[in-house]
């Protein structure tokens, strides 16, 4: 072992000291010969004979040197260096080819690495918590419905936590996030901040340690205890310049004074995991007693005991929860139907299919790139056949030639990979800074070690894939035929061309699959954008409004009326209204039952609730179907009224006119329905609307206020006048910006937009590559047939006929590829059916359009060489060879 190591080191040293070692060997051999000659002379031979015999017994000098070098250095490395030097020389000579090949490879590899980074971040990499595989997500009502359905009551949380045997610990947070509702005071302009109420053991359960300070103490988690908050790292840096002295100090939130007890580590991003697309500034312990009677308030996360699976915990909950309920908790309904899954599944499970499709799409791109390069290399090999024949004649073995060609492929792929890494780096950096894409964990996307390993794998696989076929093809050629002045038109060329045609057909087929898949996804996306939202997002914008009504309905009514009156009078504003929540933003639900309908705890009575002012419907561009809008006379002391949407009307008053009917569940008293409004997509564009109910702000208690204005002007133009109006009414109005309502829609569609954008750009890339492939092959065959075409034209073939011949060739290749690709697409389309929206997997329009597009591009790619062919001058063509 030690001897082997010593030998390896010596060989390595020798590899870098070739010249001195060669000189020494020469000297040694010279001495050897002189000694031999001397001895021969002593034996009485003539000087000439003495020398001859010495040389004979020595054997071949060059062979001995070669043997010596093999024994002393690293012969494999020597060959590699030779191949590399040769490769660089040839690639430098063929600049255009090298440039195109590296660019194509860079795009293909870059796309692959970027998508891998995304897949790795969202799907493969464990969550950034301690022992993340133990973390589970608990979803009430088996995860079906709005937030109020899938969350838990405080009692359920506490009793389940006490009685279960599956979990080390169970923790909770309030998923009704407080986004920009609270203001940080006393530090310049009041600044809106976002935070989450969490259970006291939240961070311990996830295994998060504070970067500065400490986590919550038990006495900070009960009513009456000291008010504590934990800052997120980003907020700490942004707001407090990363000053550790802030820990222990009090800060002012609205009119409340709270103490900063610690700062969370930079690796912890609540939004990335639990609320994609939003950023949380700090965390406060929720006092369970405060929200005990508020209904479904908590999202639960559990840490399983070692060795316990989510399925086992689920089985336990199936037995335990009904038992706990029967022992005196009649209000538990949806809580009992609990589904327990891994937290990772909850976070990224829904995206798995999309990401896998994306991954496959980018894999297809790589295949197309490889086929394309194979083709390029084959074309190049045809022009290099003489070079290889020459090398072969000089003694290079077939293995050596293949090795040489594979070295070239590897160098190309390696250079492409470097370029691709650059692309991937740019793409991932861009994605990580897209806060508006509502995908979990996206802001931690980066090209990491795993991505580098993937790059290496992809590059080597690509090199072998695109390099092997041409390598075997070239090295297996007929030596003699190539060495003779190999003109075009020989059988070798034909075989070559058939192989290239096969490659092009498969390339077109692959591109066809990509195009049709992307087409279906694009059409789905357009369908989603086309959905009737129930409101008009364009020309509307919202701004958060702050006011102080002392909890009195009359005062609130006066303030809101004042705000809307003053804002509505600003020139350019067509309509203005206030709601406490906006669709596609936040939601909450209450019970809604037609009066007199029997209460059944097995029937879901939930309806999404919006507390709005008169004018809100106009500002949002919603459509009142029947009845009347709210007005300022619907005061608290008069009859309480509501407006329901069509879905709610259908559920509670099927086949009847709901106007004038009474409903229960909204507020303390019965409420009378005064209007029916069109359905609004409240949580997603892709799911149909649930029952919704609107309560006048003059009678209900809103949670915050979003002022919505409808205007033809850009919101920024109005921002200052609106803001100064609001400030004049309430000096404490925080500095917030207008949010275009379209932004809410864009955010809701952002995951689909993200996927469609990527898949469509892959398809475009595939299309370009396929057309390049077609162009290459047709163009080459025209060059090869120059003489033949010349003869035909000399014999009277018209330019049009020649042109048509070339185009027919092109069409044959393209149509064969398209036929194959279309057949494959039917299978692929079935596979992505669940990702489609309002589009059949066999959508004829998409198939037709994509086939037409591909044919047109193929035709264009074939037309250029066809035109060249038709312009061949027979005299020149015949003379040239």
């Amino acid at each position: 072992m030690k001897d082997r190591l010593r030998e390896a080191i010596s060989r390595l040293r020798a590899f870098f000291h070739k010249q001195p070692l060669d000189h020494e060997l020469d000297a040694e051999m010279a001495a050897h010969l002189e000694l031999a000659i001397e001895e021969n002379l002593q034996r009485g031979l003539s000087p000439a004979e003495a020398r001859r015999q010495a040389l004979v017994s020595f054997g071949g000098v060059e062979q001995a040197k070669e043997q010596h070098r093999d024994a002393r250095g690293l012969p494999a490395l020597d060959v590699l260096m030779q191949d590399l030097r040769y490769t660089f020389r040839t690639l430098r000579r063929d600049r255009a080819f090298t440039l195109i090949a590296v660019l194509i490879l860079g795009l293909g590899i870059g796309a692959n690495v970027a998508v891998f980074s995304v897949v790795n971040t969202i799907l493969l990499r464990p969550l950034p918590f301690h022992d993340p595989q133990q973390l589970t997500w608990l979803a009430g009502n088996n995860g079906v419905g709005g937030l109020s359905d899938v969350t838990y009551r405080v009692d359920v949380y506490e009793e389940f936590q006490r009685a279960n045997h599956s979990f080390q610990d169970l923790t909770a947070f309030v998923p009704y996030y407080s986004l920009s509702e609270t203001k940080l005071m006393g530090r310049g302009e009041p600044r809106p901040v976002s935070f989450v109420w969490v259970a006291g053991n939240f961070f311990e359960t996830l295994g998060i340690r504070p970067a500065v300070g400490r986590l919550f103490m038990p006495e900070e988690c009960v009513r009456g205890g000291r008010k504590a908050i934990l800052l997120s790292y980003a907020f700490w840096r942004r707001q407090f310049a990363a000053n550790p002295a802030i820990v222990g100090q009090a800060i002012q939130l609205d009119d409340e004074s709270v103490t900063v007890v610690g700062v969370l580590p930079p690796t912890f991003d609540f939004g990335a995991v639990f609320a994609p697309g939003s950023k949380m500034d700090f965390f406060r312990p929720v006092f369970m007693d405060d929200i005990r009677t508020w209904g479904h308030m908590l999202s639960l996360v559990g840490r399983l005991k070692p060795g316990v699976t989510a399925a086992q915990a689920q089985a336990e909950s199936k037995i335990l929860l009904p038992q706990l309920k029967d022992s005196g908790n009649p209000y538990w309904s949806t809580d009992v139907q609990t589904t327990i899954t891994g937290l990772k599944d909850h976070v990224s499970g829904k995206l798995r299919r999309s990401l896998v499709v994306l991954w496959c799409g980018v894999g297809l791109i790589l295949l197309i790139v490889c086929v394309n390069l194979s083709n390029l290399l084959l074309a190049r090999a045809a022009t290099r056949s003489k070079e290889f024949a020459m090398r072969s004649a000089l003694g290079a073995g077939r293995a050596r030639l293949i090795r040489q060609l594979l070295t070239e492929s590897l160098v190309l792929a390696g250079t492409g990979a470097v370029l691709g890494l650059g692309f991937a780096f740019a793409i991932t950096t861009y994605l990580a800074h897209q806060g508006s894409i509502a995908l979990p964990l996206l802001d931690s996307v980066r090209v990491d070690g795993a991505a580098l390993a993937w790059t290496l794998l992809v590059a080597v696989a690509a090199a072998v894939l695109f390099g092997l076929v041409p390598a075997f093809k070239v090295s297996g050629g007929n030596l003699q035929e190539a060495l003779k002045d190999a003109g075009p038109g020989m059988s070798q060329g034909r075989k070559h061309e058939r192989l290239r045609a096969t490659l092009v057909i498969s390339e077109v087929a692959l591109a066809c699959v990509l195009l049709i898949g992307a087409g279906l996804l694009l059409r789905s996306f357009l369908r989603v954008l086309d959905v009737d939202l129930g409101f008009q997002p364009s020309h509307a914008a919202a701004i958060r409004v702050d006011y102080d009504d002392d909890g009195k309905a009359a005062k609130r009514s006066a303030i809101l009326q004042e705000i809307l009156g003053r804002v509505g009078a600003i020139p350019g504003i067509e309509a203005a209204g206030i709601s406490d929540m906006l669709p596609l933003d936040r939601n909450r639900s209450w019970d809604l039952r037609a009066k007199g309908k029997a209460f059944s705890k097995d029937v879901n009575d939930d309806a999404f609730v919006y507390i709005v002012t008169p004018g809100y419907f106009d500002a949002m561009g919603m459509h009142l179907r029947e009845g009347r809008d709210f007005n300022w006379h619907d005061t608290d002391d008069r009859e309480h009224v509501i407006i329901v949407n069509e879905a709610a009307a259908r559920r509670e008053w099927p086949g009847e006119d709901p106007i004038g009917r009474l409903a229960e569940g909204i507020g303390q008293k019965d409420t009378r329905v005064i209007g029916v409004i069109s359905d609004v997509r409240e949580s997603s564009l892709e799911d149909s609307s649930g029952p919704e109910v609107y309560v006048p702000a003059t009678q209900g208690t809103p949670e915050g206020a979003e002022l919505v204005v409808r205007t033809k002007l850009p919101p920024d133009v109005l921002a200052s006048s609106v803001m100064s109006t609001l400030r004049s009414l309430n000096p404490g109005q925080p500095a917030t910006e207008f949010r275009p309502i379209q932004q809410l829609v864009d955010r809701a569609t952002s995951p689909r937009r993200f996927f469609v954008l990527l898949v469509a750009s892959f398809a475009a890339l595939g299309l370009i590559l396929a057309s390049l492939g077609i162009y290459g092959v047709i163009s080459y065959s025209v060059t090869r047939q120059t003489q033949e075409i010349g003869i035909r034209m000399a014999l009277g073939a018209t330019a049009g006929k020649v042109q048509w011949g070339v185009i027919r060739n092109t069409l044959r290749l393209a149509l064969l590829g398209i036929a194959l690709g279309t057949a494959a697409s039917f299978g692929v389309a079935k596979g992505i059916a669940s990702l489609l929206f309002g589009t059949e997997p066999t959508d004829p329009a998409t198939f037709g359009a994509m086939i037409l597009l591909l044919s047109a591009v193929a035709l264009a790619a074939g037309y250029i060489p066809a035109r060249r062919a038709s312009r061949i001058d027979p005299m020149i063509a015949l003379r040239s060879n």
Binding site: A31, A36, S57, G59, V61
Partner: protein, 117 residues
């Protein structure tokens, strides 16, 4: 020519060189080659040049060492001598060869007896 010369089996040259150096002390390449030829009574087919590959191999494994010096006739040449590790290796290899040739001898002898039956 009555008998063709023996082709050297792989690995045998290394062993011959080691043995030669062990027996003769320090020698240059030519000396080693000549010595092997003489001992084998010119029965092995040895291109003297091939000895240099063996020498560098043995040197890299640390079994022999080399130094430039002056021959008896005042010629500069590279002299090789066996190291302690080399002697150990020689002992091992020699024992192996003896065992192998013993076995081969017995096996071939057995065939002779069979032919007599």
């Amino acid at each position: 020519m009555a008998e063709s010369k023996l082709d050297l089996m792989k690995g045998t040259l290394d062993l011959m060189v080691l043995q030669t150096l062990a027996a003769m002390g320090s020698l240059h390449g030519y000396g080693i080659a000549r010595r092997i030829e003489q001992v084998s009574a010119d029965k092995v087919l040895l291109n003297q040049g091939t000895i240099y590959a063996a020498l560098v191999r043995l040197q890299y494994r640390g079994w022999i060492s080399a130094a430039w010096g002056t021959s008896a006739k005042n010629r500069r040449a590279k002299f090789y001598s066996i190291t302690r590790n080399g002697r150990k290796q020689l002992a091992e290899d020699a024992a192996y060869w003896r065992r192998l040739s013993g076995v081969m001898g017995r096996v071939l002898a057995m065939q002779d007896e069979g032919a007599k039956l």
